[in-house]
Amino acid sequence: MEQAAKRTRAFIALWTTLVLVVIYLPIACGALASLSKGRYFGFPIKQFSGEWWEKTASSIEIGMLTRTSFAVALTVTVLSVAIAFFGALAFARYDWKGRRLFQKLILLPIFFPQPVLGLALLLWFSALGIQTSWLTAVFAHLVWIVPVVTLVISIQVYGFDPTLEEAAFDLGCSRWQVFREVTLPLLWPGVWSGMLFAFLLSWGNFPLSLYTAGADSTIPKWLYAKMVAGYTPMVPALGTMSTLGAALALGLGGAILYLYRRRQMR
């Protein structure tokens, strides 16, 4: 019995590691390709060079792309968290008549292929006569990302003890004070996680941006266009930079969350 359990444990650990290696392999390949000197990729790399990273970092076009991507992601983050916060309260906290239906409806945009959603939104914008731009891309991102953030915050809301609000109220708080002193501080970790999710999902999103961003270009759009025609190692360079940026954001965000929790527990 013990032997079998040990073997299972080893197998699972090995399997997980293998899968993780496979997952990060293409990202590593991209990083490699960005560091090769020549224009075309060949392995093993004959000469390493940082020239493509330099070119990418100094390119004006890419600078614009980055700003657009950032503007979209930031706007999506702020708006989605504001909307999803109340959505999460409706999802997990308040008891109201349509709650069960609401829970299922809110998941529909997640259970829907993004390319088809993007095309549908493109059609919708055209039918309304709205010119597609980074703003319409923001809207498209929201449709998908708000449900995701709602779920993330809901998980935090589920663990929230409503009697704490009652107690604060009983001890003399006004409704606003209850929110500021009890509700928000306790829900903050969920909100912060939601913000991270929103930013990162928007930053790397391709299918929705492709169809709804119009003339404005984001990093993923540019990467795809160059992949199809006009490949240079700037493509994997930008891709790797973008990935590193995401990792940095995630790391920082996670660290802040950890510190916040530590401070509360003192």
């Binding site: 009652e166 009983d170 001890l171 009890v182």
Partner: protein, 359 residues
């Protein structure tokens, strides 16, 4: 007991208070006067409506019918943050993201009291509830169960409410700690002189701490009285059985006197409260049911066989088969039965020790 110097006067009055949730009646017309400065406990089994009653008193729920007045003023719809009352929740509802000091100061902080005054008062209260001073900056989730109770108490007292409500705060605590906290609550009550309204399902807790006890069942107050009254003169079977296991004999009035219905024989008992009653129940607590020695007499005698013997620490309990029924007899150690199981015994009880109730 409230001091003899002050005549007890009602601080809270409930008249015809009723609460329904759709078709379900949680509280069914309660009339109650709560005296200023008393320790009143409402006991009842789960589902009896005591929590709903407490929430209406605290302001979390609004009565469907009836009036609740404080110092004569109607407070039915006054929200909890505007009442001079405080509720100590069953889960204590301590703010997990704040320290002991922050929790206690909370009611003062939201009333705009400055930091220095708050801190002084918090430390004062910590002394009153016997919490060491260095706990002030400690995160409240790191405290033990008993310590958390004290923090909750200190917080409730911080802004000096007139009435404190307690929602079964000791139900999830182990026995030893519970005994300690019961006595401390009682002391706190005496020291602060405030009105305490406490609810629990354990009559034992109520007996230890209360000036008066109210027994609730299915939304109604069945009896309100001092612990002695509840114990010695329960209003009905339910209340009497609430204290612990009892022996019950059903009797019916005949020309010859009170005849046993389930245990045949003529019984000498005190007359029931309702003089015209044709039926009654005689309730005898196990400690008043005696094992009669050779030649010993009692107002009422029964014969039976010993079925089982239980040790209850300092007392012994015997289960005796009498007819179809099982009678319980409790004797202190030193007076136990020499013979063992299957021994034939004579049981007896006196009229003055038997409680007669109508239902």
């Amino acid at each position: 007991m409230s001091s003899d110097v002050k005549k007890p006067k009602p601080i809270l009055q409930l008249v015809g208070v009723r609460k329904t949730f759709g078709d379900f009646v949680a509280v069914d017309r309660i009339d109650l006067d709560v005296r200023q400065g008393e320790f009143l406990t409402i006991v009842g089994p789960s589902g009896s409506g005591k929590t709903t009653l407490l929430r209406m008193l605290a302001g979390m729920d609004v009565p469907s019918e009836g009036n609740i007045t404080l110092h004569g003023e109607l407070i039915n719809e006054v929200p909890p943050n505007k009442r001079p009352t405080c509720l100590v929740f069953q889960s204590l509802a301590l703010f997990p993201h704040k320290t002991v000091g922050d929790n206690i100061e909370f009611p003062l902080k939201v009333r705009g009291v400055d930091k220095a005054t708050r801190k002084a008062r918090a430390l004062d209260l910590m002394r009153v509830v016997r919490l060491p001073e260095h706990y002030y900056g400690k995160n409240v989730m790191k405290c033990s169960g008993g310590e958390k109770q004290r923090v909750a108490l200190a917080r409730a007292l911080a802004y000096d409410p007139e009435v404190l409500f307690f929602d079964e705060p000791l139900s999830a605590i182990d026995y030893k700690l519970k005994k300690i906290l019961e006595k401390e609550l009682k002391d706190l009550h005496r020291e602060t002189g405030k009105t305490f309204i406490y609810i629990t399902h354990s009559l034992e807790e109520a007996m230890v701490m209360s000036d008066r006890i109210g027994v609730m069942r299915a939304g109604r107050l069945v009896q309100v009285g001092t612990p002695e009254e509840i114990y010695a003169t329960p209003a009905d079977r339910f209340v009497s059985e609430f204290v612990g296991e009892v022996n019950v004999i059903e009797v019916a009035k005949t020309a010859a006197g009170w005849q046993g219905v389930d245990l045949p024989g003529l019984y000498t008992i005190k007359p029931p409260k309702d003089a015209a009653a044709e039926k009654a129940f005689v309730v005898i607590r196990p400690e008043f049911m005696r094992l009669l020695a050779e030649g010993e007499a009692a107002d009422n005698c029964l014969e039976g066989t010993v079925y089982n013997e239980y040790s209850l620490g300092s007392r012994l309990q015997y289960q005796v088969h009498v007819g179809d029924k099982v009678m319980l007899v409790e004797v202190p150690r030193g007076r136990e039965l020499r013979a063992g199981r299957d021994a034939t015994v004579r049981l007896g009880f006196d009229a003055r020790d038997a409680i007669v109730v109508g239902n």
